[in-house]
């Protein structure tokens, strides 16, 4: 599946530490959301964010691949859209860790969605707090 979101990150931590942060439920809760994740292929779990007026806050997931400490993949179903999130970890010679994220499977309708200008006006005001953090 062709990824639609493809991002690279670099950590000064070891590959084991990054793997732990990606697969330990309590740690995941600190940087994504509360969850009942387990690193077991076929395990179904949820991320639960604070619900709001536009979103129930629930992401339904199923673990697809667990290849410690190099690859982790799960489905990500939220707001009627099912995608696949894949994390790839690579140990670099200098002791740092590269983390690559692919998120693929967005429907063509979603990608092609045009218009919704009114919705967009609305959406950016609500997302701006989050955007500011991203840009900071």
């Amino acid at each position: 599946m062709k990824p639609d979101v493809s991002l690279d990150f670099k950590f000064t931590s070891s590959i084991e530490q990054v793997w732990h942060a990606l697969t330990d439920s309590d740690t995941l809760a600190k940087w994504i959301w509360n969850n009942d994740f387990q690193p077991i292929v076929g395990h179904k779990f949820q991320f639960r964010a604070e619900p709001n007026e536009w979103w129930d806050g629930i992401v339904d997931c199923e673990v697809l691949e667990v290849e410690e400490p190099h690859k982790l993949s799960y489905t990500w179903t939220s707001a009627g859209e099912t995608t696949t999130v894949t994390w790839t970890l690579t140990q670099v010679a200098d002791g740092t860790t590269q983390l690559h994220l692919d998120q693929g499977g967005f429907s063509e309708e979603t990608k092609a969605r045009q218009g919704a200008i009114e919705g967009a006006k609305y959406a950016w005001t609500n997302m701006s707090a989050q955007l500011e953090k991203v840009l900071a």
Binding site: T12, Q17, W31, G115, A123, V134
Partner: protein
């Protein structure tokens, strides 16, 4: 991706509270001249027009001269980039990973 540059511009353009207020003001009306926009802020017209220039560069406002004044109107179309899921998740994951960075640093 070809549209990365423009996308970044839109994100930068709306990252500032003054510019968000300008968008909000323009979203409510058809068109406003600079002096009426300036009246809504605790800053001078030069400062306000600098913010408007950034919005204009990002394609979010259109400006036209009428006599001695410049009138501004909102063009909300570029905002839809931010609403699409792919852009949303790119922003979402970058923010989450920033949190993860802090978390891993704390553990050291």
């Amino acid at each position: 991706m070809n549209n990365n540059h423009q996308e970044r511009d839109v994100y930068v353009a709306i990252a500032d509270p003054t510019r968000r207020k300008l968008i909000r003001l323009l979203a409510e009306v058809d068109e406003l001249p600079l002096h009426e926009l300036t009246a809504q802020f605790d800053m001078g017209r030069t400062a306000v027009s600098k913010h408007l220039a950034i919005l204009k560069d990002a394609g979010l406002v259109l400006a036209r001269k009428e006599g001695r004044e410049t009138r501004y109107r909102l063009n909300a179309a570029p905002l839809k980039e931010i609403q699409d899921w792919v852009s949303f998740y790119e922003g979402f994951w970058k923010e989450r990973i920033a949190k993860l960075h802090l978390l891993l640093e704390e553990k050291k």
